[in-house]
Structures are given as structure tokens and as C-alpha cells.
């Protein structure tokens, strides 16, 4: 078995009485896509936010490669090799696609308290940015400001930025939402190749993509894990069908 990159133990987050995430324990390995699905409001995004440091857990612990990182702030988590995308597009709208990714790549310089050498002279940074842009299939749009892109294209930028920080663990919150059928397929292919040397936690409602990618599948309902395991086994679960999949997906 490959190395466990991410592990949570009994992770919980409450919002004034509402248990958005409730005692979730899961793990994510290198070279694996771990898909998390569940009804709307099940707590998937909240889980991702807990893992990326955007939110602090109310209880429970998070480990990255065995080191505890519970309650770390996002910049610190990011520097531990975690990249994330947002469900609601969250990018630098006035900047070009390239500048968005260049900025993300620049964070790998360590400190950006560098005042005198022009940023564009950092070749490695620009190259990393271009790589991410190509992977996300945006090379044609590289020099367009993001706010002139269509909704679907902006969703692609979201992924490119996560990639540009060259993470080893990717947390993707509904990366395919808003993308067209063709782009969706492209991204699925991309995730397949990325899975060769990344650990990926994928939250997605597109079941075709989920079943095409997932090595492990976890279903969350009301903040808690309902079922977790091999995708086929989970799919067969009656509880999962009732709570989430509906009739279309039980063949």
C-alpha cells in the first residue's frame, strides 16, 4: 500500500448547534483518488475547508503525512503541499490566467519578501505556471483577464491555480461543476494522470466522473460518514441509493 498522505480522526465542525461535519475519520493515500459524495449540505465543503485550514475544527484532529496539522492556517497548510480548489470560483478576476497561476506558483519561492528583482525574472515560477495552465487546458486563454472568461472557463482557472502550487495532495471541491461536457472529460483525464503521483480528495456530484476516478468512495450525510469503501460496494448500498444517488444510478 502506498503512503497515507492525509488522515483525519473524528473531525467535527459545528455552526451554532448545527453539526456540519460530525466525527469524520478518513484517509487519503498517494496515487489514489478518494471521492467524497453526499447530498447538498452534507458537509463536504466544510470538510474540505477544515482540511485546507479555511475553517478550524470544533473537535478532532488532522494529520498530514503523520504530522498533526489541526488548526493550522491556510498558508501553512498550503506550504505542506496541499492545494485546493473552491466550489464557488475564487480567483483573481482582474488578472490574466497566467498571472493567476504565476502568483500561485510564486508562493513556492518560500518567502516573497523579495523587493528588488523583478518577478518576471523568476523563470522557474513562470514555467510552473505555464505547466499548470496547459494541464487545465487553458493555454489559449493564458493572456486573457479571468473576468472576461465564461463561467466554465473560470472553473478551469480554479483548477489550474490549485495545480500551480505544485501540491502533492489536491483537495478539489466540485471541480467539474459548471464545466461543459467536453471540458469535464478533459479534466477527468487530467485527474487520472495526476493520480499517478498525487493524492487527491475529490468532492463531486458528477457520478460518471466519480465512478471513473475514485479508488475509495466515502458518502457523507448530515455531516457524518454513511458509508466508505470500494466504489462498487458503496454504490450497491441501499442506504446510499436512498440518501443520495436516487434511481438513475442503481442500474
Amino acid at each position: 500500500m502506498s503512503e497515507t498522505v492525509l488522515e483525519t480522526r473524528n473531525l467535527s465542525r459545528h455552526f451554532e448547534g448545527l453539526a456540519a461535519v460530525d466525527g469524520v475519520s478518513l484517509s487519503c493515500r498517494m496515487r489514489e483518488v478518494h471521492a467524497v459524495i453526499g447530498p447538498n449540505g452534507a458537509g463536504k465543503s466544510t470538510l474540505v475547508n477544515l482540511l485546507s485550514g479555511d475553517l478550524r475544527p470544533s473537535a478532532g484532529r488532522v494529520f498530514l503525512r503523520g504530522e498533526e496539522v489541526t488548526g493550522f492556517a491556510p498558508p501553512r497548510i498550503s506550504h505542506l503541499g496541499v492545494g485546493r480548489s473552491y466550489q464557488k470560483t475564487n480567483v483573481f478576476l482582474p488578472f490574466t490566467v497566467f498571472e493567476n497561476c504565476r502568483l500561485a506558483a510564486q508562493s513556492r519561492l518560500g518567502s516573497s519578501m523579495r523587493f528588488f528583482r523583478p518577478a518576471r525574472r523568476y523563470r522557474a515560477v513562470s514555467e510552473a505556471a505555464m505547466r499548470a495552465i496547459e494541464q487545465a487546458g487553458l493555454h489559449r486563454q493564458a493572456d486573457k483577464p479571468v473576468d472576461t472568461l465564461s463561467h466554465g472557463e473560470q472553473r478551469q482557472v480554479e483548477i489550474a491555480m490549485a495545480l500551480a502550487t505544485e501540491p502533492s495532495l489536491l483537495l478539489l471541491d466540485e471541480p467539474l461543476a459548471g464545466m461543459g461536457a467536453e471540458e469535464s472529460l478533459q479534466i477527468v483525464e487530467l485527474l487520472k494522470t495526476l493520480a499517478d503521483d498525487h493524492a487527491i480528495l475529490l468532492v463531486e456530484h458528477d457520478m460518471d466522473a466519480v465512478f471513473a476516478l475514485a479508488g475509495t468512495l466515502t458518502v457523507m450525510v448530515n455531516g457524518a460518514v454513511l458509508e466508505s469503501g470500494e466504489p462498487e460496494a458503496v454504490r450497491a448500498s441501499r442506504a446510499v441509493q436512498l440518501a443520495y444517488l436516487g434511481d438513475e444510478h442503481h442500474e
Binding site: F15, I37, G38, P39, N40, G41, A42, G43, K44, S45, T46, Q87, K88, T89, T148, L149, S150, H151, G152, E153, Q156, E174, A177, G178, M179, G180, A181, E182, E183, S184, L185, H205, M207, A243, Y244, L245, G246, D247, E248, H249
Partner: protein
């Protein structure tokens, strides 16, 4: 005859600043019709909708709403003509509670019809009932999407425009939305649907319009669309 036409767009040319997005698009929707609007990312679907809604007045061409020229009319006038819009990427009001989001614009339809009441939408989206007092910004992505749809329904429109309305919805809820759309269709309400789930769209639409680079390349029913698999691949990538 013309009273039958809800929106008629003629020769629309739309721009964002200097970039020319729509190149002479004609589009019509009649009472009771359901239209699937298709095209890849960035082909101009949203732009076309915005042009018709007064959110992005076209530089050339005309938009007639129920027979009167509303090319440059304020968006609220178009909406008042019985047209509800569910924008892509959700347009909830983060600073209003769920309840306030719902009732702020709720009204009876033009003909006094009041099919969609607060109780009915809450019964349709039970998740929202649980969240009534929460602020809009506290909702999960899918809950926000439900809220946008529910809010549109509460204006009891004659024409419902859904731009990627099922984005981020769990399959069960998405199925529920399609069921509702079928039901709405039966009550004679028109809709324009943009959605990446092509099979679901074509299952409900009377007519489909395919956009490529800001031009209409196809218009016809779902069967004739399916009959052209090659073109389909080049237009839509499937």
C-alpha cells in the same frame, strides 16, 4: 399570433467592451415552449440570455418581449413581464436570510396565478425549510442553488430561464429539479434551459438551439439533434 411569442430576439450582436461575442443571433420562444440552449463553454449562451434580459443590451438587433420592444429596457421591466432568471454561479443575496431571499420578490403571476407559494417551495426543497433563518452566505453550494431556483419559482413566472441550474446539485435533487421542470412544462410555463446534462435537456425540450462562437448552428427538436452525432461532437464535444 404574436401574443403567443414571449421573447423574440432578432439579429443580436453583443459585445463585452471591444470583444464581439454574439454575431447576429435570432432566438424566439413561445408560450408553453421548452427550449434547450446548448454549446460548449464560452460559446455565448449566457451572453445571449443576458442580452434578452436587458442585463447586457445588444449593440445591434432587437429584443421583443411579448411583442413590445425591450431592447434597451431596464432588466426589471423584462422581469415584470413574467420572466424569471436563475443565473449561473448563483445569485443569492448573502446578507439576507433564506426566508428573506425567498419572500423579497415573491409575487403572483401576471394572470394572478399563484401556483408557487412559500409552503409549496419549502415542501419541494425541504432542505431550505431547515435553513430558513440562516443567512444566505451560510448555505452550502447546493442549498444556494436550490434557493435561487425556489426564489425564481416564487415570482410565478410565465418563462423560467435556467442557466446551469443543476450545477452543484446532488443527483437526487437534480432529478427532482428535472421532475419539477416537467411538471412546470405541463402547466404551460415556458422555459429556457442551459445545462450540461444533455440527455436530461433533450428529454424535456421541444426545441434545441446550439451556439458555436456566438452563432446559431442548429435549431430543431431533440430527435433531429440526436440524428447528427458527428455535428454533435464538433458542436458540443460529445
Amino acid at each position: 399570433m404574436s401574443s403567443d411569442i414571449l421573447i423574440e430576439a432578432r439579429g443580436i450582436h453583443a459585445y463585452y467592451g471591444a470583444s464581439h461575442i454574439l454575431h447576429g443571433v435570432d432566438f424566439t420562444i413561445r408560450r408553453g415552449e421548452t427550449i434547450g440552449l446548448m454549446g460548449r463553454n464560452g460559446m455565448g449562451k449566457t451572453t445571449l440570455l443576458k442580452s434578452m434580459l436587458g442585463l447586457l443590451p445588444p449593440r445591434e438587433g432587437n429584443v421583443l418581449v411579448r411583442g413590445s420592444d425591450m431592447t434597451r429596457a431596464a432588466p426589471y421591466r423584462v422581469a415584470r413581464a413574467g420572466i424569471a432568471y436563475v443565473p449561473e454561479g448563483r445569485g443569492i443575496f448573502p446578507n439576507l436570510s433564506v426566508r428573506e431571499n425567498l419572500i423579497m420578490a415573491a409575487r403572483a403571476g401576471r394572470d394572478g396565478r399563484n401556483d408557487w407559494t412559500l409552503d409549496l417551495v419549502l415542501a419541494t426543497f425541504p432542505r431550505l425549510r431547515e435553513r430558513l433563518k440562516h443567512g444566505g452566505q451560510q448555505l452550502s453550494g447546493g442549498e444556494q442553488q436550490m434557493l435561487t431556483i425556489a426564489r425564481a419559482l416564487l415570482t410565478n413566472p410565465d418563462l423560467l430561464i435556467l442557466d446551469e441550474a443543476t450545477e452543484g446539485l446532488a443527483p437526487l435533487v437534480a432529478q427532482e429539479i428535472w421532475r419539477i421542470l416537467h411538471r412546470i412544462r405541463q402547466t404551460g410555463i415556458s422555459s429556457i434551459i442551459v445545462d450540461k446534462n444533455l440527455s436530461a435537456v433533450s428529454a424535456i425540450s421541444d426545441r434545441n438551439v446550439v451556439l458555436v462562437k456566438g452563432q446559431v448552428v442548429f435549431e430543431g427538436d431533440s430527435d433531429s439533434l440526436r440524428a447528427q452525432p458527428d455535428s454533435l461532437r464538433s458542436w458540443l464535444g460529445v
